[in-house]
Amino acid sequence: MLKIENINAFYGDLQALWGISFEVNEGELVALVGPNGAGKTTTLRVISGLLKPRAGNVRLDNRDLGKEDAHKIVELGISQVLEGGKVFTAMSVLENLELGAFVGRARKVRDETIKWVYHIFPRLEERKTQRAGTLSGGERQMLAIGRALMAKPKVLLLDEPSFGLAPILVEQMFEMITEINKQGVTVLLVEQNVRAALELTNRAYVIENGRIVGQGTGDDLLSFESIRSAYLGDCNA
């Protein structure tokens, strides 16, 4: 469904991605894991069109997204949740969700989608009139994901949704993500919380220094020695 081929991406003269290729099939929950500065966020920005690559292709259902503006890519069915969520703090929870359904196709079914989002995140319904700036970190993250779901995406890109959350919340967050995926949304999950991410996902890719250095099922990678020592702190494995 989503296919990334040989992406080279730059910030100014600095190359951040070197020939990245991978694929996410319909209905899958795929993780992209790697250390700080590896290029995870950059990869998501390329997919969502916020950063145009200097070489390579991004395809959604075989359609080339290379020439499309970022706002058009949302319309075509890819929604990215930014690192830290970036909710509109001056607006209410409800207004944030309404903005999520900005694109025409989503706006038509807005009221139904809101019910669906409230079903996944009941906390958002309780807080709907509250200003998003007054939400807790976990609630903001839920709102950010809920807002992205309002666009009825085919593919949801999540950038470290567990970042900064207490361990108990991290677990809940991952359960919610699994639930969203079960409801038919294809998910590409970027995580530093490697163990949790690998336990959760069908497949995962490992990225380092802007290159894909490993791939496999979550279980495969969990037993991979280099991964264990590098990311899971199991030096004696």
């Binding site: 916020l50 949740v81 509109f88 607006m91 900005f102």
Partner: protein, 293 residues
């Protein structure tokens, strides 16, 4: 003495409403696009002359011709944006601020000199049959056209507020103010939002200019002072608060006239800048703004 003071206060509020209107336009553009349009005062001047010439040539009542002034500035706004400012918005933040400042200065000089060439340096104002009309209350005089201008400014601010709060487009604008990347990821075409906010800012300047032409007077060189006043009010009111900015305008108007009354007219023009510095130092988020974070 008391009556004279009250009279002064009223004049301050009346001119302040126009400062507020002009500043809301500047602030809207700044909030959305993150560039400071230093030719805002010249756009205001254009609105003033549009209204003036419609009246002088064809005897169109300046209040009736307000929509024409708005349309004129909307068109001018599109042209200036497409030709000049729109090219800068894709630049990195720092470059964008620098380049748009330069472009703004350039445009402001060009417009000022064109106005001087075509319309001479004469001070003009619109004198209608009702221009002298005044009603009095408790010994204080209320010039009719200026009161009408205040009402119009107020109505426009309320309408703008409703637009920003209630409509999808208005919400898209507010979303872009807060975070353009997050807004883009909602499917909002922020290039269009930038253009929209710029032309709306131009239109607000145009209305303010037309109201200045009928209640006060206009001249080709007026722009700089209006840009400065708008800037002072924008900082005073606090970014992102439309009502705060409008009230900030009235505060500046009242402060100016109080300074004229208690000190001397010489200090009237500087007091705004003093206020500007005080706010920047002691309350950088503005009188009505909320702290970030």
């Amino acid at each position: 003495m008391l009556e004279a003071l009250a009279q002064n206060l009223v004049y301050g509020i009346l001119i302040g409403a126009l400062y507020g209107l002009a500043a809301v336009g500047l602030s809207l553009v700044f909030g959305v696009t993150k560039f400071l349009n230093v030719s805002h005062g010249e756009l205001l001047m254009l609105g003033g002359y549009a209204s003036f010439w419609l009246f002088a040539l064809w005897k169109v009542d300046p209040f009736i011709s307000l929509p024409a002034a708005i349309i004129f500035l909307l068109v001018a706004g599109v042209v200036f944006y497409k030709l000049l400012f729109g090219r800068m918005v894709k630049l990195a933040e720092g470059d964008k601020i620098q380049n748009t400042l330069l472009v703004g200065f350039g445009l402001s000089l060009i417009l000022q000199n064109l106005a001087l060439q075509f319309w001479t340096a004469d001070t003009r104002s619109i004198t209608t049959a009702y221009s002298g009309a005044v009603f009095s209350f408790a010994g204080v005089r209320f010039p009719l056209v200026r009161v009408a201008s205040l009402v119009i400014a107020f109505v426009l601010i309320v309408a703008l507020q409703l637009f920003l709060r209630r409509t999808y487009t208005g919400k898209a604008l507010r979303a872009t103010v807060e975070n353009w990347e997050a807004a883009t990821l909602m499917g909002i075409d922020i290039q269009r939002v930038y253009l929209l906010s710029f032309v709306m800012g131009a239109a607000l300047a145009g209305v303010a200019g037309a109201l200045v032409a009928v209640g006060y007077s206009i001249e080709p060189a007026m722009g700089m002072s209006w840009t400065l006043k708008s800037l002072v009010v924008m900082v005073l009111g606090g970014l992102g608060s439309i009502t705060g900015t409008f009230v900030g305008g009235i505060i500046l108007g009242v402060t100016e006239s109080a300074t004229g009354f208690f000190l001397s007219l010489t200090y009237r023009e500087v007091v705004g800048l003093v206020l500007f510095l005080l706010v920047l130092v002691f309350r950088p988020q503005g009188l009505f703004g909320v702290k970030e974070g």
